[in-house]
């Protein structure tokens, strides 16, 4: 089974990435993209250091500020990554107050270079006063704050200055007030960084990954949308993301489409005609993939440790199972972009804002996953390449 690399060769890790960054700086609409992240390689740094994770503060009306403060105070997170937070100092201070943590960070102004590696850094965009925030409400002000933070974090990663992006929960309605085309994170990120490849959402909970072949389409369209090529493409993406998250030979289970996975063709033929051929092709390509399995048992088996990931055919097939297990404790990964993007699966939790009771677990898992994936990507880039091209 060949070693697959998440990225093509050509970039060497020197702490901060060097290479094709300048050309990809992306001017996003209406907002000035200064050259605040000019590349400053630091030769003294070891080849594999703590990865840099750009963390965007999410919706200010919910628990995002206190989660951000808690993340900044979390030893495990601080050891796993160098955090560069985008937000507003005053909002973060409010979050720290609610979370009852002291902030041991550096603060730089908008446009300043956040380096060098050291304590976590807040890039203070100074764009939202606490008085303007209506706690527990989705507002345009909150949406604008979250979107600007997210754009800055994405720009930093796109320029190669950050290895991964994380964000604390957004409120989609608030985002739509200021960006009406905001459908989901995948679409927004693709537009913002000008990405035209395939990116997908993965739900990750207690070490179990869920990827899906179709998502937000009517059930009546699912059967016709499932093709061998499509399943194979999703398998390849899942395999790549799992490997970059540290799974050496990720075991991927593919769910069937029909009751009892078609029961040998008595209850639908897609398993025989479409899904099994995709599994077979996946095995031939070196993926540790099996199936199709009946949907009513595949998650039970996965939870017992038989698989690392389940590839489901449609939205509710995976979502019902994951939400039962405790979806909101898990992590959402946007995989397939040039850098990993992770966020807790839960929402803004408007109902408990300001109480200091928000659980940090999912956010910490999101950060640690992003850091782990970033480290793997760096290691893969710095490893000797099998086919060096002549200079």
């Amino acid at each position: 089974m060949g070693i697959r690399r998440p990225k093509p060769a050509g970039r060497r890790a020197t702490g901060t990435a060097v290479g094709d960054t300048g050309a990809r700086n992306h001017a996003y609409d209406g907002m000035q993209r200064t050259k605040e992240f000019t590349v400053t390689p630091s030769p003294a740094e070891p080849a594999i250091d703590r990865p840099t994770v750009a963390l965007a503060m999410g919706d200010p009306a919910g628990v995002s500020p206190e989660l951000t403060a808690r993340l900044l105070a979390d030893d495990e997170v601080r050891q796993a990554a160098w955090l560069v937070v985008f937000g507003d100092r005053r909002i973060l201070d409010e979050g720290a107050k609610v979370a009852r943590v002291a902030l041991d960070i550096d603060v730089v102004a908008r446009g300043a270079s956040p380096g060098p590696h050291g304590r976590p850094v807040l890039v203070d965009l100074a764009h939202l006063a606490p008085a303007a925030v209506r706690l527990g409400e989705a507002t345009p002000v909150g949406g604008a704050f979250a979107i600007e933070n997210f754009r800055h974090a994405l720009a930093m990663a796109q320029s190669g200055q950050a290895d991964a992006v994380c964000f604390t929960p957004f409120n989609k309605q608030a985002m739509r007030y200021v960006y009406p085309g905001y459908d989901d994170e995948i679409g927004f990120v693709s537009e913002t960084i000008g990405f035209h490849g395939a990116a997908r959402e993965f739900n990750i909970l207690e070490g179990l990954w869920n990827a899906r072949v179709t998502s937000h389409i009517p059930l009546a369209q699912v059967a016709a949308t499932i093709t061998t090529e499509r399943i194979l493409a999703e398998l390849a993406l899942a395999d790549r993301c799992l490997r970059s998250a540290g799974f050496a030979q990720p075991r991927i289970a593919v769910a069937g489409l029909n009751p009892h996975a078609g029961d040998g063709g008595n209850c639908g033929t897609e398993e025989i005609e479409v899904i099994a051929p995709a599994v077979k092709a996946g095995v031939e390509r070196g993926f540790n993939v099996s199936g199709p399995y009946p949907a009513d048992t595949v998650f039970v088996r996965a939870r017992k440790g038989a698989f690392d990931a389940v590839l489901t055919m449609y939205h509710d097939q995976g979502q019902i199972a994951m939400k039962l297990i405790g979806f909101e404790r898990g992590v959402t990964l946007l995989g397939g972009f040039p850098f990993p993007i992770c966020t807790p699966a839960h929402g803004t939790a408007y109902d408990i804002v300001g109480q200091g009771v928000a659980n940090i677990g999912a956010s910490r898992q999101a950060l640690l996953l992003a850091a782990r994936m970033a480290r793997q990507q760096r290691a893969a880039r710095s490893a000797p390449q099998p086919c060096p091209t002549a200079a």
């Binding site: 009751p259 078609g262 040998g264 009946p294 009513d296 097939q317 979502q319 039962l324």
Partner: protein, 341 residues
């Protein structure tokens, strides 16, 4: 003893795990008797042989309807001979007619009142089909046998005060055919049967019923499919107008979360895999399948024939009879309630 209901239990596929599960049930009955007279419908010699092979020691005796019920924790065997010798783990289509005969006689015994309820161990559908019998499931078979136009498959867990109950509008249907089968009549009749039987058989005076949508996010206001608006919501409205406490359509991925599900006595799902995985996960292999709408009470295990276990006496001995025990217990409970006990 006199008021103990008489429960029929079919062994199902003779080459499957059914005979061992019955033996394990028998051991349990011997140790800790169920408050019922348990009649096993199957091949008496095969049952004795398989119990011995697996090193299990249930008490079996021949079923004589007129005899007094046993008091020593015996299961009574109503002998229905297999057609050809059975190799455990390897079903033979030649035995398919005898399997059907077993089911037919048990069902007829329920219909005539000889039995108060029927519990079924798994059959191997594919083997029945290989024998040229158009068999899509126990549920459908009993509906046909009793000329019942619509029955509802409901799954539930055992033992808790407020168990999860999931009823299905469609059952063993290819997913691509599901949307067309979600008609106003199908949803309405399902809701009516569920409401009626929960009241009549489960003793719930005004059952609270939640209905799932068909599409992701229950169609999200028509953006992700229109069946919720065109079909499901009107059917719910009709049920409400009929005096039933029915609500929905709810997104399927949120309604099953315990914090939501606990507010309902039953959740009606649109298709097999919308509801069954939830039950499997919630019941850890001790799920029960109940058929609603039949003229008699019928419960079943929620698992298959486990041929790999059946093939090896050592493994077969360790099979988990939890689902069969739970199904038997529920059949007894429902039978007692119907009898006014």
């Amino acid at each position: 003893m006199r008021d103990h209901p008489v429960i029929a239990i079919t062994v199902g596929e003779p080459a499957g795990i059914g005979p061992e599960l019955v033996a394990l049930l028998g051991e349990r009955h011997r140790r800790e008797p169920f408050a019922a007279r348990l009649i096993v419908v199957g091949d008496a010699k095969l049952l004795a042989k398989r119990a011995a092979l697996a090193g299990l020691a249930p008490r079996y005796r021949d079923y004589t309807p007129a005899a007094l019920p046993p008091t020593d924790g015996s299961l009574e065997i109503w002998h229905q001979p297999v057609g050809v010798p059975v190799t455990p783990g390897h079903p033979d289509p030649s035995n398919a007619p005898s399997v059907l005969e077993m089911l037919s006689r048990a069902a007829d015994g329920c219909a005539t009142g000889a039995f108060a309820a029927l519990v079924t161990a798994p059959v191997q559908k594919s083997v029945l089909q290989d024998a040229g019998i158009p068999f899509s499931g126990h549920t459908e078979f009993f509906a046909q046998r009793t000329r019942t136009p619509r029955v509802v498959m409901m799954l539930t867990g055992a033992g808790t005060a407020s168990p999860l109950r999931v009823a299905l509008v469609t059952t063993h249907l290819a997913l691509r055919d599901v949307p067309a089968a979600i008609t106003r009549a199908a949803v309405e009749e399902t809701l009516r049967i569920v409401a009626r039987e929960l009241a009549a058989k489960f003793g719930l005076a005004a059952p609270r019923i939640a209905v799932c949508g068909l599409n992701p996010h229950a169609g999200e206001g028509g953006h992700l499919g229109r069946e919720e608006i065109d079909v499901i919501a009107p059917a719910i409205a009709a049920a409400v107008a009929g005096g039933h406490a029915v609500s929905g359509p709810f997104p399927a991925d949120t309604v099953f979360v315990p914090a939501v599900a606990q507010h309902f006595d039953a959740i009606v799902a649109m298709y097999h895999d919308q509801g069954l995985p939830v039950l499997k996960a919630a019941t850890f292999g001790h799920g029960i399948n109940v058929t609603l709408g039949l003229p008699f009470i019928r419960t079943s295990v929620d698992h298959g024939t486990a041929l790999d276990l059946a093939a090896d006496p050592v493994k077969a001995r360790q099979a988990d009879p939890g689902s069969l025990i739970a199904a038997t217990r529920l059949a007894i409970e429902l039978a007692r309630r119907s009898a006014g006990g």
